[in-house]
């Protein structure tokens, strides 16, 4: 690919710039910031788009855009890119076809082949910076993989990585070290050993099984044997158990037999009667004790009886005493009741006496009221109340008429006073008598004077063609002056000096004004002259009108005081004010006169009202007198005191109330008498009783109570006596019974003792106890014997039991038992052990038979073997692969060399004038070595700066040529790399670059002008383009 034309439409500082390039060597020269780097970026952008972090936007705004016109093997092709996004929009014109979008991208990708933006930047377009760091070539994965591997094989993995991968993988599978744990094969080998070890444990299984079967049989036999032994021992132990159980009973029996022989008593002794004997003995003693107690009791009772005394009289009158005693409380009540009633009566009488006189009037007292039998019905109250109301109405009518008369009189007096005041006020008002006439004249004048003056002016103006205002003005102003003078004179007459002076001044001022007015009229007259002819006609009319006004003025003048004529306008105002004041007075006078008329009417009305009231009063008085006489007749008729109706109502209510109280008094007296009768009766009864008792009655209440007490005491005594007598009788009977009882018992006891052939109860007791003890022992003996026999069954066994018991001692028996128990326990232990053993053996047998564990192990073994075989194969492949590669590499490294290094070596030799003859790189390492002319191998760190840069350039050139083998050659863009080259090496370099032109177009950017000369000196053909500020300055 060669670029003919770079069309930068909008990119960085470039704007519409077209650069034509030579298809071969180009030197693009420009100062710093002329746009060289931008141009480089532009070429890359069109080919690859932006890298992620290096967007370059146009300075003038808008989208970046531009194209490259290139030659593709003789075909013209336009590659064009536009847009801000990373890739922008690509369009390509080739073969008359316009490719866009994916189609265009695809075409370009195919054209660029494996060269990515990154590769292009590092290999095809580079500057001094990249050269100075040889590591940019080494570090970049894409580039270095290409660099180291190109020509070795198609892939991109460095050889070192390949061998490492193989080694890593084989190590992950197996390590020959016995201690390695992680590699898979080592793991499986360990499993294998473990499985083998475990399987080894099962090696002897068949023998185990065989001996197991044998042991099972033997153990079975042993168990049978042990069981037999246990059975025999158990039988013996059971018999010993019986003996041991019977032993205490047997001992007891022997003991009892010995005891029984020791007790001396007749077997026939009636020991069973002991209870009877004891009982009788006790009963006899009891009888004796009771008799003693009864006799003592009897004598006590008798003594008590003799001490009792009774009052016969009291007892005989018991009923009467009881009665009086029962009524006594009522008697006491009566006594206090009588006193209370008497107190109430007395208090009531006193209160009534006072009230009767107070409320019923003199002549009345309690006795009179008691005798009075009249009652007053409540109808009377109604009559009285009606009369009362009538009296009230009549009194009101009289009072009302009187009040009306008085009111009429008062009103009349007020009206009179008012009239007097108004008259006085009227007189005080100083009114001009002919004021209406004066006023009328003034009004007329005031209205007509200006009209007339105006008219007169007009007339004069019409009459004369030229202005003669001086003649007009005196006439015009004279009239008011005269009028004002007249008014001044009038006021002067009335001694109103201020107004008079004002009037005079006004007149003088009118004259002054006239002078001023005449000047003004001079101008007016000019106009008048022009219209003169027309106005003349109207003159006549005006004169007529003038005459009419004058007639009226005459009239006014006549009325107004002649001396008051003046011409001053101000005076008119003053006069007008004066007239207005006069007019107020005039109106007030009329108001007063109207009020006086009204007062006269009121007075007449007042007189009428008084007369009507007097007539009403007379009528009312007459009615009252009639009612009064009727009332008095009524009182007499009903025998009532002469009183006003209201008082009669009070009196009646008092009468009725008091009469009720008198009745109450009477009832209380009756009550009191009844109680006193009761008291008397009770007292008489008491006196009679006292007589019968032979006692004096001193105080009824005290005595009755005392008698009652005595009676109670006598009654108690009487009761006690009767009780004691009964008790004495009862005791006497008991004594008799007890004596009988004692006798019977004693006889019975004696009979029993005789029968037992003993003399005393004590003796009987001793013998009876012996007999009972012996009987008890006999019973026990029988019980033990039956117990002992019940331990066994069968006569033979019984005999043997008794015999064995008799022949073995306790200690011997116990020893025998212990021995047997021990033997049994040991036999059982043996049995258990044998059983367990059997179980274990059977378990072992069944385990051996199922063979689970071996099965599992065998399966594991198979699985492990398979894995081992698989891994071993993988490992072998890896190891052999690596072995083969190593062998191949050694041969290759020895016999061949990668193309890049070969080319680089050639160029490096050329540039250094043969100082260095070879560039090398160990195949599995990422570093370079150079071989000097004298066959010394040097590392990159041993080279000078310039030489190192030259080495880097040569490596790039090697790469470029290697790429060119596989795809379209791309233009080289080289940015000022010769700075550190000496002139000789720089010239060598430029020559090499120029030689590349057969394959690659070269764009060499520089800011140094001397390079142009250097090229020319070395006969290197090139095209020079000079850039400045984004523009092509010159191109040759």
């Amino acid at each position: 690919m060669r670029i003919f034309e770079v069309g930068i439409e909008n990119f960085g500082l470039f704007n519409d710039c077209t650069i034509h390039l030579s298809p071969k060597m180009n030197i693009i020269q420009g100062e710093n910031e002329a746009g060289k780097s931008t141009l480089l970026t532009f070429v890359r952008w069109v080919l690859f788009g932006f890298a992620r972090n290096e967007k370059l936007v146009p300075f003038s705004g808008g989208d970046p855009s531009g194209y490259l016109l290139v030659d593709l093997d003789g075909k013209e092709c336009v590659i064009r890119r536009q847009g801000k996004s990373l890739k922008g929009e690509l369009s390509i014109v080739v073969d008359g076809k316009n490719l866009t979008g994916k189609e265009a991208e695809h075409f370009l990708a195919k054209l660029l082949g494996s060269i990515t933006d990154n590769v292009y930047k590092n290999v095809f377009a580079f500057g001094l910076g990249e050269l100075q760091q040889i590591s940019t070539v080494e570090d970049d994965q894409e580039v270095s993989s290409f660099l180291y591997s190109s020509g070795l094989y198609p892939g991109k993995l460095p050889l070192s990585a390949i061998t490492k991968e193989l080694e890593d993988k084989s190590k992950a599978l197996y390590s020959p070290s016995r201690h390695a744990k992680n590699p898979l094969i080592n793991q499986e080998l360990r499993s294998w050993e473990e499985i083998e070890d475990k399987l080894g444990e099962f090696k002897n299984d068949p023998e185990k099984y065989n001996s197991c079967l044998k042991e099972i049989e033997e153990t079975g036999k042993e168990l049978t044997h042990i069981s037999e032994r246990i059975r025999t021992l158990q039988e013996k132990r059971d018999w010993l158990g019986v003996l041991s159980k019977g032993r205490p009973t047997w001992s007891k029996i022997q003991e009892i037999k010995t005891l029984m022989e020791l007790i001396e008593v007749d077997d026939e002794f009636p020991a069973e009667s002991l209870g009877q004997v004891e009982k009788l003995k006790a009963e006899i003693e009891e009888c004796e004790n009771r008799l003693l107690a009864l006799n003592a009791d009897l004598s006590t009772h008798k003594e008590e009886l003799n001490a009792l005394v009774l009052d016969e009289k009291i007892l005989e009158n018991a009923a009467e005493i009881e009665f009086l005693s029962g009524e006594l409380s009522r008697f006491t009540e009566w006594k206090s009741g009588v006193q209370g009633l008497q107190d109430e009566i007395t208090a009531l009488e006193e209160s009534l006496e006072k009230q009767i006189v107070g409320r019923l009037g003199n002549g009345w007292n309690l006795d009179k009221l008691k005798e009075e039998e009249r009652t007053f019905s409540y109808e009377i109250n109604d009559t009285v109340r009606k009369t009362e109301e009538r009296f009230k109405d009549q009194e009101f009518a009289i009072k009302q008429a009187g009040e009306k008369i008085e009111a009429a009189d008062t009103k009349k007096r007020t009206l009179d006073q008012e009239e007097e005041t108004l008259q006085e006020e009227l007189q005080r008002l100083d009114v001009i008598d002919n004021f209406p006439e004066i006023k009328d004249a003034f009004e007329t004048y005031r209205h007509l004077a200006p009209s007339r003056a105006f008219l007169k002016g007009q007339i004069e103006a019409q009459k004369e063609p030229k202005a003669k205002p001086k003649k007009l003005s005196p006439v015009l102003f004279l009239i008011p002056a005269v009028l004002l003078a007249v008014l001044s004179g009038v006021f002067g007459l009335k001694a109103n000096w201020p107004l008079a002076v004002a009037g005079a001044t006004g007149a003088a001022f009118s004259i002054g004004l006239q002078i001023v007015a005449s000047r003004r009229y001079k101008k007016a007259l000019v106009a008048w002259q022009e219209q003169e002819s027309k106005r003349l006609e109207e003159l006549e009319k005006l004169l007529d009108e003038m005459k009419k006004i004058d007639a009226k003025l005459e009239l006014a003048k006549e009325v107004l005081p002649s001396s008051a004529s003046s011409d001053q306008a101000n005076l008119i105002d003053l006069i007008q004010k004066h007239i207005e004041a006069e007019e107020d007075k005039w109106q007030k006078r009329e108001e007063l006169q109207r009020k006086l008329g009204h007062l006269a009417t009121e007075k007449a009305k007042c007189e009428d009202e008084r007369k009507a009231a007097e007539a009403a009063l007379k009528e009312a008085l007459k009615l009252e007198e009639e009612s009064r006489s009727q009332w008095e007749a009524f009182l007499r008729e009903n025998d009532l005191p002469q009183m006003e109706p209201l008082n009669i109502l009070d009196w009646l209510s008092a009468y009725r109330e008091l009469k009720t109280r008198v009745d109450e008094l009477r009832q209380k007296a009756v009550q009191k008498n009844a109680v006193q009768a009761n008291i008397k009766q009770f007292t008489e009864k008491a006196e009679n009783l006292a007589l019968r008792l032979g006692k004096n009655l001193e105080n009824v209440e005290i005595d009755v109570v005392s008698w009652k007490k005595e009676l109670s005491e006598n009654n108690d005594t009487l009761l006690k006596k009767e009780r004691l007598e009964t008790e004495v009788k009862r005791i006497e009977t008991q004594i008799k019974i007890e004596a009988e009882k004692k006798k019977g018992k004693s006889e019975e006891l004696d009979g029993i003792l005789e029968k037992a052939k003993v003399s005393t109860v004590e003796e009987f007791r001793t013998l009876a106890k012996r007999k009972t003890d012996k009987d008890e022992l006999r019973k026990q003996l029988a019980l033990h014997q039956s117990n002992l026999i019940s331990l066994v069954s069968g006569e033979e066994s019984r005999q043997k039991l008794l015999a064995d018991l008799a022949s073995f001692s306790e200690a011997e028996l116990q020893k025998d038992i212990n021995d047997t128990d021990l033997a049994l326990a040991s036999a059982r232990t043996e049995q258990n052990q044998a059983s367990e053993k059997l179980g274990r053996l059977q378990e072992q047998r069944s385990q051996l038979e199922t063979g689970r564990q071996t099965e599992e192990l065998l399966r594991q073994k198979a699985s492990t073997k398979q894995k081992l075989s698989e891994y071993a194969k993988q490992w072998s492949q890896l190891v052999i692969c690596r072995y083969l590669i190593e062998k191949a590499r050694a041969t290759y490294e020895r016999e061949k060399q990668p193309g890049v290094l070969k080319t680089a070596s050639t160029y490096f030799e050329k540039i250094t004038n043969g100082n260095y003859i070879k560039v090398m790189s160990p195949l599995t390492e990422q570093r370079f070595e150079v071989l000097s002319r004298d066959r010394k191998v040097k590392g990159t760190n041993e080279l000078s700066r310039g030489t190192l840069e030259q080495l880097a350039l040569c490596l790039r050139l090697g790469l470029i040529l290697e790429f060119a083998k596989h795809q379209t050659p791309l233009p080289l863009v080289i940015d000022d790399i010769l700075v550190n080259f000496d002139p000789n090496r720089a010239a060598n370099t430029l020559r090499i670059l120029a030689d590349l032109e057969s394959m690659h177009q070269v764009l060499f950017f520089t800011c140094q002008t001397h390079l142009v000369g250097l090229c020319e000196d070395n006969n290197i053909e090139f095209k020079l383009t000079v850039l400045k500020n984004g523009k092509v300055v010159s191109s040759a």
Partner: protein
């Protein structure tokens, strides 16, 4: 007329291939296969009402004791004994006489030949119809030609029972080697041999017969396995193969598929391929394929996915494939891969070479007792694998 069953190499107790990853059903079937085969044999003997059964060695699998297989053996022998069928057994290299037995006494009618040759008559209806002469391995390793010790009897049909490797009969280890010429001239009518697992009739009249194993337990023991039913009438001897295996091995060696679809279809078709029989497959893919990387990476997944079907299990998948690169052309290049291929070719040509063994010694020295020594086929497979690996690495990242 009489008839008998001739079987050998039962290898009771051989657990077969690894069953990890299989369903329990398949795992048990494989693990118990030898026992099942023996059981089938006994059933068949009883069903056919044969006169006797000859077991010519390697009845048990290994010198390692496996009690269960012994118990299985005794159970089977007991069954035959109860059915009135005699058994003549000779011990082979896997079950020599020094083998520890679980039971010392053999069931009635079961005869185990001792370490010295002996002849036992077979009498039917009072007539000695045949005489059976045999000998057992006294120890596992016998290098003597034991056939020389067997001498035919005088009455009836003469049968020899021996566990022996007849020269040229198989590539098994050379135990008790014997020569066919000798056998055919020995005077016996029927050599009932054991040891070689592939059935073979080496000679007729006199008959020299390997019945093969009753159950294949290894990928190399492919196809139907069983025993022979031998009928003897007058002088005529007829052989009939009776299958006994619980399952059979199949090796599938196929051209590596070019697409994933093709591969999936292939694997999906395995069940149909097995068609009713129980099969254990080993699949081997060979040749160049564009699927090289996919297969290498996804092999385990694929194996897992198609591990078993109704009628088959996949024992393993072996890859002998190469990336899709024209190796012949590369081989001519003056490039590193060219050099590499040329080296590989050279090594391949050497076969099981000391050069190769030297490289692999660090591992194979340790695997000695576990895996068999490498054979030509395995070496070829390893070198092919190495080539594939190398090519893949040399081409990795190349845009094709």
């Amino acid at each position: 007329m009489f008839r008998f069953i001739h079987a050998a190499d039962l290898h009771l107790g051989n657990s077969g291939p690894s069953t990890s990853g299989f369903s329990k059903q398949w795992a048990d079937l494989i693990y118990k296969a030898t026992t099942t085969a023996f059981s089938n044999l006994i059933d068949k003997a009883i069903e056919l009402n044969v006169d006797f059964v000859i077991l010519a060695g390697d009845v048990l699998d290994t010198a390692n004791p496996n009690l269960n297989s012994q118990l299985d053996l005794f159970a089977g022998l007991n069954k035959l004994s109860r059915a009135g069928i005699q058994v003549f057994m000779a011990g082979g290299n896997h079950d020599p006489l020094d083998l520890k037995k679980a039971q010392t006494t053999l069931p009635e009618g079961v005869h185990l030949f001792g370490e010295r040759a002996e002849t036992i008559p077979f009498v039917k209806g009072g007539v000695t119809l045949a005489e059976i002469t045999g000998i057992s391995f006294p120890v596992a390793k016998v290098s003597d030609d034991l056939s020389r010790q067997l001498v035919p009897g005088t009455k009836g049909f003469q049968i020899a029972v021996l566990h022996s490797n007849v020269k040229g009969a198989g590539k098994k280890e050379n135990y008790a080697p014997s020569k066919l010429e000798y056998l055919t001239q020995s005077g016996f009518d029927y050599w009932a041999l054991g040891h070689v697992h592939t059935r073979a009739v080496l000679s007729e009249k006199p008959h020299v017969v390997y019945p093969g194993t009753t159950q294949g337990t290894h990928v190399n023991e492919t196809g139907e396995k069983g025993c022979y039913l031998v009928e003897v009438e007058n002088d005529s001897v007829s052989l009939q193969f009776i299958p006994t295996s619980a399952y059979t091995w199949e090796k599938l060696e196929l051209e590596a598929p070019k697409t994933l679809n093709e591969l999936t279809e292939l694997l999906e078709g395995l069940d149909e391929l097995a068609s009713g029989a129980k099969k254990v497959y080993r699949l081997k893919l060979t040749g160049m394929t564009p699927l090289y990387e996919t297969l290498i990476t996804d092999l385990k997944d694929l194996e897992e996915r198609f591990k078993e079907g109704k009628h088959y299990v996949l024992e393993s998948v072996e890859l002998d494939i190469l990336p899709d690169v024209d190796l012949e052309e590369v081989k001519l290049e003056e490039s590193l891969p060219g050099e590499f291929l040329r080296e590989a070719e050279r090594l391949m040509a050497l076969g099981v070479s000391s050069e190769l063994k030297e490289q692999l010694a660090p591992l194979y020295d340790r695997l000695g007792g576990i895996l068999d020594d490498l054979d030509e086929e395995e070496v070829k497979s390893i070198i092919n694998g190495s080539i594939a690996l190398g090519i893949e690495l040399f081409w990795r990242g190349e845009s094709r």
